[in-house]
Symmetry: D2
Subunit: 358 residues, 4 copies
Amino acid sequence: MTTSRKAKVAILGASGYTGSESVRLLLRHPNVTLATLTADRRAGAQMRDVFPQFSPFDLPQLVAIESLDWAKESFDLIFCALPHATTQKVIKDLIAKSPKTKIVDLSADFRLADTAAYAKWYGHEHHAPELQPEAVYGMSEIYREQIKKARLVANPGCYTTCAQLPLIPLLRAKMIDPDEIVVDAKSGMTGAGRSAKEAMLFSEVSEGFNAYGVGHHRHMAELDQEFTRAAGRNVTVSFTPHLVPMNRGILSTIYVRSQKSSAQNFSAEDLHAELLKSYAKEPFVHVLPFGEMPHTRHVKGSNMTFIGVAKDRIPGRMILGSALDNLVKGAAGQAVQNANLMMGWPETMGLEQIALFP
Amino acid sequence: MTTSRKAKVAILGASGYTGSESVRLLLRHPNVTLATLTADRRAGAQMRDVFPQFSPFDLPQLVAIESLDWAKESFDLIFCALPHATTQKVIKDLIAKSPKTKIVDLSADFRLADTAAYAKWYGHEHHAPELQPEAVYGMSEIYREQIKKARLVANPGCYTTCAQLPLIPLLRAKMIDPDEIVVDAKSGMTGAGRSAKEAMLFSEVSEGFNAYGVGHHRHMAELDQEFTRAAGRNVTVSFTPHLVPMNRGILSTIYVRSQKSSAQNFSAEDLHAELLKSYAKEPFVHVLPFGEMPHTRHVKGSNMTFIGVAKDRIPGRMILGSALDNLVKGAAGQAVQNANLMMGWPETMGLEQIALFP
Amino acid sequence: MTTSRKAKVAILGASGYTGSESVRLLLRHPNVTLATLTADRRAGAQMRDVFPQFSPFDLPQLVAIESLDWAKESFDLIFCALPHATTQKVIKDLIAKSPKTKIVDLSADFRLADTAAYAKWYGHEHHAPELQPEAVYGMSEIYREQIKKARLVANPGCYTTCAQLPLIPLLRAKMIDPDEIVVDAKSGMTGAGRSAKEAMLFSEVSEGFNAYGVGHHRHMAELDQEFTRAAGRNVTVSFTPHLVPMNRGILSTIYVRSQKSSAQNFSAEDLHAELLKSYAKEPFVHVLPFGEMPHTRHVKGSNMTFIGVAKDRIPGRMILGSALDNLVKGAAGQAVQNANLMMGWPETMGLEQIALFP
Amino acid sequence: MTTSRKAKVAILGASGYTGSESVRLLLRHPNVTLATLTADRRAGAQMRDVFPQFSPFDLPQLVAIESLDWAKESFDLIFCALPHATTQKVIKDLIAKSPKTKIVDLSADFRLADTAAYAKWYGHEHHAPELQPEAVYGMSEIYREQIKKARLVANPGCYTTCAQLPLIPLLRAKMIDPDEIVVDAKSGMTGAGRSAKEAMLFSEVSEGFNAYGVGHHRHMAELDQEFTRAAGRNVTVSFTPHLVPMNRGILSTIYVRSQKSSAQNFSAEDLHAELLKSYAKEPFVHVLPFGEMPHTRHVKGSNMTFIGVAKDRIPGRMILGSALDNLVKGAAGQAVQNANLMMGWPETMGLEQIALFP
């Protein structure tokens, strides 16, 4: 479908980084009209007041969510970039009043199919359990067909997208041992959001490096869910996130072993071939030549994921690398990709930007 | 003209930063086919080998300039991103053999109308003085009409673009004293190019700040030329460039006095009004509300220049700020803008990207 | 004096950056015992909880100021690194109860001799005007003799130290025109302190550059006071501060003209000679060879100021550069230097560290 | 021994980062006179020309190594910070002519006891195999007694120091499975040295993150040697180095399993207790409270190593973190520590500096 009428779109939570990144992409999307931007604490302000890069552009004034009448507005499409927990309530209300509106939710609120797992990891009951069954996990390359038909898509986390794209085809193909996966992940600072916390100050972050959330990070729940689906059995991986003094980008270094139970031993070259085959036609997943490892800088600002495969010097072990921009393929870019699928538009529409390097 | 046939384009010097930035922009330009990329020292390599962000895209193999037959190739348009001095020789040869090809030169080789000034600042004779008269100085907003008719456009320097956009309208309007201008300029590191020099290593640059070229920097010659033209009398400004530990962006902080000889004293508000008026219809120059000062981060990756005007606390003195991305409006973006003008295409074509912040 | 008994020292406000920098220096000072550290909001915590780099060292637990009995504690020396306004009240109380304690105040509260000027710039009445007359402005190289006898020293601001060291000898010698001084200053982010503000987040700051406080910054009051004293007439300078994406360091680029009223015209070489002479014996001010400009990275972590002098290409104009570490010579280091003077210790004691570069 | 006569010291290779860091530390070392600094390519220059931070200090002019007469100079102590391969030849010559001189070699040339392993990893024959047996591997905490008696100490690599300090006590105690160790290491850019390479330019490095040397990095040879010694059996670990856009610091995130063959299963708490016990009296190794992970910023500029231990959520797996400054404990600092041991001086002499944070 190429519409003569542009879709009427709202972005909820436009004053955060995933919100502003959604604005950046959608302002240039040919099929979209940005009708409404919300930012509860900044209601009444202009977008330029919270993100001066939009100063030259005409954008609607920021409003509070509660000032919106969902039925009357009747949005075609909503990007929901709100904090978790409030999201479930907002979407529940929205769907009740405007059931035809399609929603891409960038929060974690609908990512876990198991509402009990949600309650465990997020510390409170799910506020819209009746909607959870219809929510489609929005890893575009994996669930494309379901996303096309969905009303509510739960856009995946940035760390999880980065780890799942290289691992899911290998788990599905039973080429690697699901009990021996270590994911060492490194993220730029925009992943921590825009809230004013001492630990995120420039002076606390620059010229240093550290791990955090060791042994307990909420993205683990998503990893478990999707790896378990892919492997057809329970999978729990070692996962350690780190903070890099840079703005954008996630790099995952992933240590795997060849599937032991297999009659066959798989080599790094076998894994590389499998990933090449899996992603041969994907516009946003690029498998590097064997032995090359990805840099986050080469995907910055783009919706691309770069994947590399190399031999370890230990027989039977392999090392995977995966890099994406946490605000694009790890958030707003994949959200647009999913919206394109949901609306029947070309999947790459509005996402053609090439990485900004250097 | 909106072509059914796309223009056949070459980029000479694709392995440097202005070259790669030209590739980034032109690869998504709807009227352009990137037919040829040159890189003498990397001839035979693929673009992905020198800039891995292009790995997913189909691009021609890098070739040496001397392997090209200009007459046979008959390019519609050439972006020349070669080092100075070699540029004059290459363009001389090119124009002799393919006189209909249009050229945007990103080097300094054709910026100075006075070939004696060129010889003085660059330390060698001009190699194509007979071409100099037809070269149009490519400050798009100032010389738009001449650029439209030009065959050879000398794309301005990054520092000079940043300083000229706020100052030229004020000098033309005789609102500021031409003898009392201080331009304190700060640039990101990509301005220094991609050559492997010890002083440009990460460890030498990060976590520090310094001036360089104090009292003598080649962009001064361009500033003199254009300010003198605008003021209708000789103008020499104090200009000091600095290096900022960031990749992209130039910020100029400019100290001016109201024109003394004037019957009238001009205020900061008067200057602001003049700039607002001058740039009211310009797509790529944005004058901020009075008193606001620009940040380089809000123009990064875009072709935009942000200008601010504020009062100094000293009566009669005003402070101007100007910010642009040295690789876009300061180089490849303005080159595309000029090419659009030369080819009769919409001026903003291929340049719609919004700044990448954060 | 080299004491057999170490001085009993307290640091008030140890959880901020100037406080922690004072701890860093004093923990290795041979004549000092760090007896007390205060941090009102973190009272009860250990220093390692707020600054983990101190984890291996034995330091007193953080306490609230109000829990201290000044008379009973009878500190020899206090470093006061509290926010302005509260400082005046605390010091008033302290001096009343423990009149023999010597105090170095790192806030702005006692820097302005004119309490009316204080009220104007800081927006509230001075809370201890009766103490202001005895407060000595702590620019060590300028007021050394007064500091030696002082009970209360007002440690100068970071920007002001950086601008005053090159300018005061030249104003005193009447070599430069006091009406034509432009100070374009650039500071690392630690100058903004440790408070959790959105504008200071890593993602807001890195990869960008901007001016702030244009036309109105509180350090102007200090500059006016000291330049007026040095010149023996009213002096108001143009001063614009900028933020650099680095942690430590201030660079001031200063544009001056030779004194017009002088019979003699002074050259850049004359200025250089005057500065060389002025600082020949100073351990912490280093005048670079003529024409060389300082880098902040070469003084990082040290108490050193580097000063450079160069010609401008405009006759009669000169460019000065000055670089220091805002947390050392611009704050805690100069505070220790002043304390050494006040206590009769060698002026360089505890300040011998060489810059950490790279 | 506290000498009345200071030791006569030379630093070979003073124009690189490990050389300049040695100068920084030794210039303030109470028992040392820096008699000679060499820098072959910069012979004749002053140290300030290659590292301006030394501008205020009196240092000998840089000379070429070949201009030195070892016998005549009769140095007490030499820090050798030369590139590998040339080092062996220089030290061979030096020891032949001045057999009483003590040497700390910061290169890799004498680290591998097995000269065949050296030849394999470094691509050429060992040039001084007859000296190898007397070379002591300079991990100060592990080989303290041997170092005290050594004439030639091979200072360990930065990555290896960072990985060995947490792992060696655990391997010795047979608490972890030697076949299941993954070391994911991240280093600041000074680790790459000062040579002018395109890949090390600021614009290539900042705002990005990547792995390198995947599957083959020379520090692996050192790791194998020392882990094998500690475990009493062959050990080969997975090791992947990464580059962080910061100057100083290495963080190793280490994934281990409890020793399977053991009757007992060891917990993360057991590992933590073992490390606490092992390093209880060490001045430069600090084990953080259980569950806390180290940041490189908290050891920057100091000789300290911070070690953390945390549970993984997978039963039987644990995560270790280790952080040091690659130029201090990872190079020049440990070299001074070793020199102190060799000379009979207090081990911490000249190394008391506290980390520079922020």
